[in-house]
Symmetry: C2
Subunit: 288 residues, 2 copies
C-alpha cells in the first residue's frame, strides 16, 4: 500500500547551495521565470486554474524581503514578507488545500511555516534587538549581538495505542461533534520519540506502551510541526483519562476503523480529514 | 539485540500535571527530599559518588528561578537559572558522561537543554520585550505582548546510505583525525523525515535514496536536537560530494564496520563514541 502523507510530495528543489550565494539570489529576483507566492496573511489565494496563485515579481517585490523557496524546474520561487499587512492565517485553508494536488499542498505548507516563523521572530530572543533576514530567508541574524536564528520545527508524536486488535482514539473538548483522533503531544527536550510516545500515552490515557513502532511522518504547517506517527501495543485496555486533555476515548476494531474511513453513515465517529496524519495512520493500520 | 541509545533511559517522572500547579511547585521547593542539579554554566559537576552532583536547596535557591525537572521516586528535582554566572558549556562533559549510568546521562541531557534554552530566550522573539519563566520552567511568557514561548527541539535526520551491503560514512573538515560518521542534517519546515533524509543524501553525497527505513532516535543536548536515525538503500555507490560539508566519504562493509566498533587497531577509521547515535546506528546495522 502506498500512501502520500499530507503536506508531503513537493517537487521543488530547495537548492540549499544558493541560499548563501548573494549574487545568485540577487540575480534570481530578476529572472523572468521567477514567481511569487500570492498570500493573504498566511493564506493562499486560488488562481485562475483553481490551483494556488503565483504572480510575476515587480520592482517593489525585488526591493522587498524575499524568501527563496527553491527552484521549480530551474525557475525560482519566492515568498515575500509584508510586515504592514495581515500576518495571520486560518485553518479554513484546509478546504481549499483538500482539492489540490499533493505537490502544491506541500509547497504551500512549507512556505507558510517559513513566512509565519519570520513574522514571529522579528526580534532576537537572546538580546531583544531587531533581527534581519539572511541566507535567502532561511534564517534571521541579530543586528546587535549577531546571534543567528533558524526556522523552527516542532516534533510532535502522534500514536495509536493498540490492544487486542483495536486502537485507541481520543476526543479533545474543542473537537467538532463526533470527531475523534489519535492521541498526540509535543516531544520534549531530553526524550527519544519512543520515550515521548510512552509518556504521552501514560499521561493522557493511563496506558503503558510495551513497544513503539514508527510508521510515517509529515509536516503540519499550523504553525510548524513535524508529526511523527507511531503504533504502540499496550498491556491493557483499561483507561485513566486526563480529563483536561481528553473528553472521551474509545477503542475501535479494524472493521470499525474501515467504516469510519469509508465515511459509512453508520460509523460510530468521524476522524480528521486525509491531509491530517491521523487519517493516514488509521489507513495504514486498518489496511495492515 | 537491545540497545540503549545515548541520552535516553531517564527514570524521572516529568509530572507534567504539576507544572501548571503553582501551589504544588511552591510547596516542592521546601520539600526536604528536593534536590538541585549542580551546574557550572551548563556542565555537570562530579559528586562524591562519581555520579552527577545534586545538592539540597537553600533559602536563596527557593527564591530563585527554578526549573522543575520532575519527580525521582516522588522526590522533586530542580535546576536553577543563574543569569549572572557563566552560561556556556563544553563538549568535554562527554568524557564524564561516558562513565555514568544511562539514566543519569539522560536526566542531565534533558536538564542541560532546558537550562540552555532559557539562557537563549530571555527576550520575546515577537516583540523584543523581556520574558519570564512560567509552567515550572517549561516555558517563558512575554511581559509585554504575553506571547508564550516553549522549549525548542530541533529534529535532525542522520542516516546510513546503503548499497551492495556497504554503508556510507562521511568526514567533516573539523572532525578529529580518522573520524567518520553518518551523514546528517537539520530537517526543514515542510519536510517529512523521509524527505529530509532523501534531500540530505542528495545534497551531501549526490546519491538517490530508493527508500527510507527508520531505526532509532535519541536526544542530543548540544544544544537541543532530536536525532532521527535511518537507513536508506541508494541506487548507486557513485558519489558527488558537497566539499563544503564533507572532506571525504567512504563505503564500509559489515565486517569493516564491526572492526571499527570493536576498536580494532587495523580498522580503517574511527567513529563517534557510544553516546552518539551514529555509533548506535552502525551497531544496529552491523548486527543485522
Amino acid at each position: 500500500m502506498t500512501l502520500q502523507p499530507g503536506f508531503t510530495g513537493s517537487t521543488l528543489d530547495r537548492a540549499d547551495h544558493l541560499r548563501n550565494n548573494e549574487e545568485a539570489l540577487f540575480g534570481m529576483r530578476s529572472d523572468p521565470a521567477a514567481r511569487l507566492l500570492v498570500l493573504k496573511g498566511l493564506d493562499p489565494v486560488a488562481g485562475d486554474d483553481g490551483g494556488i496563485a503565483w504572480r510575476l515579481l515587480d520592482a517593489d517585490d525585488r526591493g522587498g524581503e524575499l524568501l527563496f523557496l527553491g527552484l521549480d524546474e530551474g525557475a525560482p520561487r519566492f515568498a515575500r514578507l509584508d510586515w504592514d499587512g495581515p500576518r495571520g492565517g486560518s485553518m479554513a485553508v484546509l478546504q481549499l488545500l483538500h482539492r489540490l494536488p499533493a505537490e502544491q499542498v506541500a509547497l504551500y505548507g512549507g512556505a507558510r511555516s517559513l513566512v509565519d516563523w519570520h513574522y514571529r521572530h522579528g526580534f532576537c530572543a537572546r538580546c531583544g534587538a531587531t533581527t534581519a533576514l539572511f541566507r535567502g530567508g532561511w534564517g534571521r541574524r541579530c543586528a546587535s549581538c549577531t546571534a543567528e536564528h533558524f526556522p523552527r520545527v516542532d516534533p510532535v508524536v502522534i500514536m495509536l495505542a493498540e490492544h487486542d486488535d483495536r486502537v485507541l482514539l481520543g476526543r479533545q473538548p474543542q473537537f467538532p461533534p463526533r470527531m475523534y483522533s489519535a492521541l498526540a503531544g509535543f516531544l520534549e527536550p531530553g526524550e527519544s520519540l519512543e520515550e515521548a510516545v510512552s509518556r504521552e500515552l501514560h499521561e493522557e490515557a493511563g496506558v503503558k506502551a510495551l513497544s513503539v513502532r514508527y510508521l510515517l511522518s509529515q509536516p503540519w504547517p499550523f504553525p510548524s510541526s513535524l508529526m511523527i506517527g507511531c503504533v504502540a501495543p499496550v498491556g491493557s485496555d483499561a483507561l485513566t483519562l486526563d480529563t483536561v486533555e481528553l473528553q472521551d476515548a474509545i477503542w475501535l476494531s479494524r472493521e470499525e476503523v474501515r467504516a469510519v474511513l469509508r465515511g459509512d453513515p453508520g460509523a460510530r465517529i468521524m476522524t480528521p480529514p486525509p491531509l491530517a496524519i491521523a487519517h493516514s495512520l488509521l489507513s495504514l493500520w486498518a489496511g495492515g
